[in-house]
């Protein structure tokens, strides 16, 4: 093993910083999946009939499907009958103040460095904290409701705004879309719903923190964001998960509908438990995220920093239906140890003059594998549409892998599609140069990696950018030394 690899091994060998289990009482239903389980979930959540019907249709469709095989992921067999499909913190009253919240939960947030209290007072971020499957705390609701903005848990939205849910559910991601989308549609537990009325600019960043908590509970979150004409919202989602030995399945769906002249900025920092340094444990993260730029001049931005999960399968996508629509995908995906990531985006141009930009920054360390997979598709009516893609890979050591799979399908000859790709390595000589100026190897790598990723990090809202930078550093600890 070369010095570089020794170096890499040492820095990446530190234990997962956020790996802890909080001791909140959890109510679960028994393992396994059948129609009765789905009825039970739906009745526990006191859902209207249309929801149960939707779940059952999705379930029946899913049963006829096979789990897909992917070229660049090595996924162990998943026993879907060995998963608990519903867990709720026992007794879930809505609290008026933080004093009433389970102190154990508050301590959990403290460890994560995101105390609710501070979030509320200092940053003006409305926090809808989802521990396991049921939302525990929603803040800033009043300020938002004055403007007619709805920001609540998905379950609550099903109760209070069934018309909106019925109108938009499955419009961006139909349950027929893929295996995990069908599964999610059948069993999803909770998530967030966000609705911005016509002409309203949401006055604060909306954010949700997700955590997997109950052992062995598959997580099936569902997010739905609807931005009416000429509205604006910046939405943040981030998560950390406690350390686990069993693999945990996470199959979320995020749907975004952007109407005429509206803009949605969706930012996420994903830090699910990646498994230990030998690749044991860790979350399987199979997520379907898709937005529709439905109206003319609508705009959708996906910003993501992915450092977690044992296996990540995720392609936040945009369908640019309206004319003069704009979509961006900015991504940093970091893999270390035995992590595998296959991420990217799809930009489907349907409207005229539609523009999309893709900036993907992969960082691979340890024995990990990091693939970018992107599709740019230009329909025959999408005249003068444009895409620019930039896919960069940064390698630490020579035991990891980076792959780029750009697919392009253009059916309109006035469209311009450009693709650039680079691969670089952090060299021992760069690290030694930093060392010689008094900078430790860990700090040097943190600095180089953050420099490499800054184009994407800079797109994140301030408080997220700081967290993301720290996360990149933490995630590489032990990978170089």
């Amino acid at each position: 093993m070369g010095d570089q690899d020794k170096l890499l091994n040492e820095v990446t060998q530190r234990e997962y910083q956020y790996g802890f289990v909080s001791d909140i009482e959890t109510e679960t239903i028994s393992k396994g999946l059948n129609e009765d389980v789905i009825r039970l979930i739906s009745s526990k959540k006191k859902e209207p009939k249309f929801m149960l019907d939707y779940r059952l249709k999705a379930y029946r469709y899913w049963q006829k499907m096979d789990m897909p095989k992917w070229a660049h992921l090595n996924i162990p067999e998943i026993d879907f009958q060995d998963i608990i499909y519903y867990a709720a913190p026992k007794s879930t009253p809505k609290y008026e103040s933080l004093d009433e919240v389970d102190p154990e939960l508050l301590a959990t947030f403290d460890k994560l460095g995101i105390p609710l209290q501070e979030q509320k007072q200092l940053t003006g971020v409305a926090v809808d904290a989802v521990i396991d499957s049921v939302s525990v705390k929603t803040t800033f609701k009043e300020t938002l409701s004055e403007k007619g903005i709805i920001f609540c848990s998905f379950s609550e939205a099903v109760q209070e705004h069934p018309d909106l849910i019925q109108k938009y559910l499955g419009k961006a991601v139909p349950y027929t879309d893929n295996y995990f989308a069908a599964l999610n549609s059948a069993v999803f537990s909770d998530g967030s719903f966000c609705y911005i009325p016509k002409g309203v600019r949401c006055p604060m960043e909306l954010s949700t923190y997700f955590r997997i908590n109950a052992s062995n509970t598959g997580q099936f979150e569902r997010t739905l964001i609807v931005a009416e004409d000429d509205s604006y919202v910046s939405y943040l989602e981030g998560c950390t998960a406690p350390q686990r030995d069993e693999n945990q399945l996470h199959a979320a769906i995020v749907e975004i509908i952007v109407e005429k002249g509206a803009e949605v900025k969706y930012s996420t920092v994903q830090n699910w438990y990646p498994g230990d340094k030998n690749g044991v444990g860790g979350i399987y993260n199979f997520v379907t995220k898709r937005g529709i730029c439905k109206g003319d001049r609508s705009k959708l931005l996906w910003n993501q920093v992915e450092t977690g999960s044992a296996i990540t399968w995720k392609y936040p996508s945009c369908i640019l239906i309206g004319d003069d629509t704009v979509a961006e995908f900015n991504s940093v995906a970091l893999t270390n140890n035995y992590q595998q990531a296959d991420t990217g985006t799809k930009m489907i141009h349907i409207g005229k003059n539609s523009k999309s930009t893709i900036v993907s920054k992969g960082i691979s360390a340890g024995k990990s594998s990091n693939a970018y997979r992107g599709l740019v598709k230009v329909g025959k009516n999408a005249s003068n549409s444009r895409n620019f893609s930039q896919c960069d890979s940064l390698l630490l050591g020579n035991q990891c892998g980076a792959h780029t799979f750009p697919y392009v399908e253009v059916a309109n000859n006035t469209a311009i599609v450009e693709h650039e790709a680079t691969t670089s390595k952090i060299g021992e000589d760069q690290i030694f140069y930093c060392n010689q100026r008094g900078i430790s190897t860990e700090d040097a790598i943190g600095m180089i990696v953050n420099g490499y990723a800054k184009e994407v990090i800079n797109k994140l809202p301030m408080e997220f950018a700081v967290e993301a930078q720290r996360l990149l550093e933490i995630s590489l600890e032990g990978s170089v030394g």
């Binding site: 010095d3 670089s424 060299g427 021992e428 000589d429 760069q430 030694f432 140069y433 930093c434 060392n435 010689q436 100026r437 008094g438 900078i439 430790s440 190897t441 700090d443 600095m447 180089i448 953050n450 420099g451 490499y452 800054k454």
Partner: protein
């Protein structure tokens, strides 16, 4: 300040330093000259702790510390500075961020609080003048797209920022035109004090017109084979390295 005794070191299994002795006292300037491949850069790398190089034997005392026992970053924080023969580029890392981190790490080592942003920028402005380095350079990533001469100036600029006790300048003169050479030499001279010392590694006597050494050593096949005053550099210039080979009985 620096006491090297019988230093032997190898790279990639090949022994390069073969029992090297050198002593440097505060306030002194030492020049090390020698033909290509003699081991000059190897010595610089070994002293600054590059782990590509393996120590086979000998000892190095630096201000009362066992230098070879310190990590490269702690050698730097203890006041050892290397101006690299080939400075590397670090894309994405701005000069400002890089130097702020370096300066504050040095301060932390001495239990000092980090410099305030304003004080740091002021310090940067002052030191930039010393080597006539442009803001367009310091606003870029570390050494990225710098010309050869700019890279060398940038090394001396960093030296000025870190205020080392002992600086090793590894062929800082190569690739410099006469104006740049003068600027760099003036910078080095301005940083000179009775408490710090400089080791100038060079091929040519030219630089030594500007940075006047107290001692000139000739490094040959991994050992110092001749030591004298500054006139040795002139003699070497005149007679060439073959003279050394002959002296060594080759």
């Amino acid at each position: 300040m620096l006491k090297i005794k019988d230093l032997r070191a190898s790279v990639e299994g090949k022994q390069i330093l073969n029992g090297l002795n050198l002593e440097v006292k505060p306030g002194e300037v030492h020049a090390i000259m020698g033909p290509n491949g003699a081991g000059k850069s190897t010595l610089a790398n070994v002293l600054s702790g590059n782990d590509k190089y393996d120590i086979i034997g000998g000892s190095v005392d630096f201000g009362g510390n066992d230098l070879l026992d310190l990590s490269p970053e702690n050698r730097s924080r203890e006041g050892l500075f290397l101006s690299f023969q080939y400075p590397v580029e670090i894309p994405g890392v701005s000069m400002v961020n890089f130097l702020k981190t370096a300066v504050n790490e040095h301060r932390k080592y001495r239990n000092l609080p980090p410099l305030k942003a304003g004080d740091f920028l002021k310090m940067m402005r002052e030191k930039k003048e010393l080597v006539h380095i442009d803001s367009t350079l310091t606003n870029r990533s570390v050494n990225e797209g710098f010309s050869g001469g700019e890279k060398k100036k940038n090394e001396i600029f960093q030296m000025a920022m870190l205020q080392p006790k002992l600086s090793i300048l590894d062929e800082t003169d190569s690739g410099l035109d006469i104006d740049a050479l003068r600027i760099v030499a003036n910078g080095v001279n301005a940083l000179k004090s009775k408490d710090n010392a400089t080791i100038v590694v060079t091929h040519y006597q030219r630089l030594l017109d500007y940075i006047v050494p107290d001692y000139v050593h000739i490094l040959y096949k991994g050992r110092i084979v001749k030591t004298a005053g500054k006139e040795l550099a002139l003699e070497l210039e005149e007679k060439g390295y073959d003279w050394i080979k002959e002296e060594m009985g080759e």
